[in-house]
Amino acid sequence: MGFFTDTSVCIGCKACEVACKVWNQVPADAGPTGSGTSDLAELDLLGMSYDNTGDLGANTWRHVAFVEAPPRTPGAGDVRWLMSSDVCKHCTHAACLDVCPTGALIRTEFETVYVQPDVCNGCGYCVPACPYGVIDVRPDDGRAFKCTLCYDRTKHGLTPACAQACPTESIQYGPLDELRERADRRLEQLKAAGVAEAQLYGRDPGDGVGGDGAFFLLLDEPEVYGLPPDPVVTTRDLPGMWKRAAAAAAGLAVAVAVAFVEGRRR
């Protein structure tokens, strides 16, 4: 099971952010500048946009990006408003899950990636491992948090809170193969309507993370939305790293031994 987020129908209402916060009881976010203000007169907004969260993190599990891009063709209005509800990608090859030393991060029966809060000891290894910069540690709590894909809801056959709340069905929840077909059809439809720059992001199971459990239909390049263009799971290179480290360890032992052997001949 997973998410398909069709950004072409996202209206930036942030109902997903709110529903996520309410259902999962996620604490308030410090805002894009970290001011942590709750004063309406001094809203912490990103750039000239309506974005008051900035990015995904321990306290923001759904993040609606507001991009004001220049128009594709001159004379097509002043600005293209691109809105996209970002979320943990629930990668097929999830680096956070791979590097977690306690086994707090697990893959659930829905093939989603879930942090067990009662196991996590806040080592923080998952934070630099995530190629999308999604998971983070709550400073006051010490443990790592991210989107659970509403594991508590899905376990009982419910739709995740964000997808349930989305008024335009921009966020769709369902079996991934079904969502992929739907996304392909939607992409064709958009292409046929002349939206040449529409593209699917994280849909391909052959990409660097084995495909995302939460994938997107974007109307511009991923970087514009703050997404890495071609993320690669860091543990793909791990066997080579272990080999080199083993060789280095052996080299160290030999070097120390050699230092002694020559010492005896003197």
């Binding site: 009662d118 996590c120 660097g208 066997p239």
Partner: protein, 483 residues
Amino acid sequence: MTSGTPEPADKSRVEPRRKRGRKRIKGSMVPEAEFTSYYGRPILKRPTWKNPDIPVYLWAGGMAGTSSVLAVLADTTGRPALRRGARLVAAGGAIVGTVALIHDLGRPSRFLNMLRVVKPTSPLSVGSWILAPYAGLASAAAASEITGIAPRLGKQAGWGAALFGPPLASYTAVLVSDTAIPAWHEARDELPVLFVSSAAAAGAGAGLLLAATPENGPVVRLGAVAAGIELAAGKALEKRLDGLPGGVVDAYRTGKAGRWNRAAHVLTTLGGLGALLARRSRAGSALAGLALTAGSLATRFAVFEAGIQSAATRSTSSRRSASGSPAASAPTARAAGWRRNAAPRRSPAPDTCSIAPPAPHPTNVIRPARSATSCPRTGLPLQHGPHHLAHRTGGARSTTSAKRSWFDQRRTRALGELEPCPDVHVDHYSDDLEPFLLVEVGGHPLVDLLEILTRGSVSSPGERLGIAQSRLLRVAEQAGLPP
């Protein structure tokens, strides 16, 4: 750039900070590189590892690991003072390292969770399993050394520690390079050599500091050679990163990391030379040893800070080729210029493809796909065959493991699948909604009843998606959209 109210009138400021990274090379009409990002914000999260803790751990662990090997060899070659010093350093380093690691945890009281599983995909898990026995054995050897109790057991413990010492010194290189941070991940081939030579220099330095002159022959040689290798490995690392686009190497050359790096170079050079030149003088040896040890510490700080800087400064994952044509500034060409690599992709504007494909980005390159039939990110369903669906729906995973060999095997081993253990639950707030979901009314689960009552809003996901799709299509039709 925080503003209380949006100012739509100011059209010139509406554009996101797309031009931020654009610099012109002298004598060139072409922007050197164009960064596109979401308001200039970094994609990667800043590592939450605490500052003195982790670099100090890297240093102490390396020094201890080398020292325990020194201790057994000093013992067998009859150098009691060196053995004594090395055993104490090994135990001290292990204890300092362990304390630093535990202090770094967000929940230090849960440090034992580190030994909850054995996971080869997690360098920190492997490291915990190296450090735990190492710290015990090294401490036992040191305790026997100090108290004189059970010297034979102490000796055996020393041998045990020497077995775990070199892995303790080298696994930390994997620890930092197994991340998405470019300055760490891209240096994965050089870091093991750098870390091990730094560990050897620190261990030899500690030996020089503690052992008397007649016994210090081995540590003099080890220190000098280790210092040389450490400097060479540092150079090789910078050379490797220098070839990468995106200025990854700057993380090691600028800011705090740059300062630590320069300090490390000076100290290591002085220590290595000093160890050779002043080997007959006790004070000179001690000073050289101090310099070597401090140089190793500075190296660890440099690598750590480089990673922090690398994560924070990278606001983009792509960089346009510097050899782009001047037409690249036109909007359509710019769109084509965002093609990120040479892998086959949809190209909506083939006439603008004179722009050289940008060099692949260090961390985020498309590696050649495992299946020859797959076409990365074309959106074409070339590889998502039944094997992937089987993979996704679980259960049938073993049937696909031959095809997706390494990952799936590791994943299954690495607790990738949910275990029905009692500690899996959602959170531990007292007002958890889970009990609510389990409440039964008149023998029926409340949620099921609600579902019947509020059909349409809470129905089965499949049904709901069907509704969603038809609704979507209807809306699009009615609006006569370019959807």
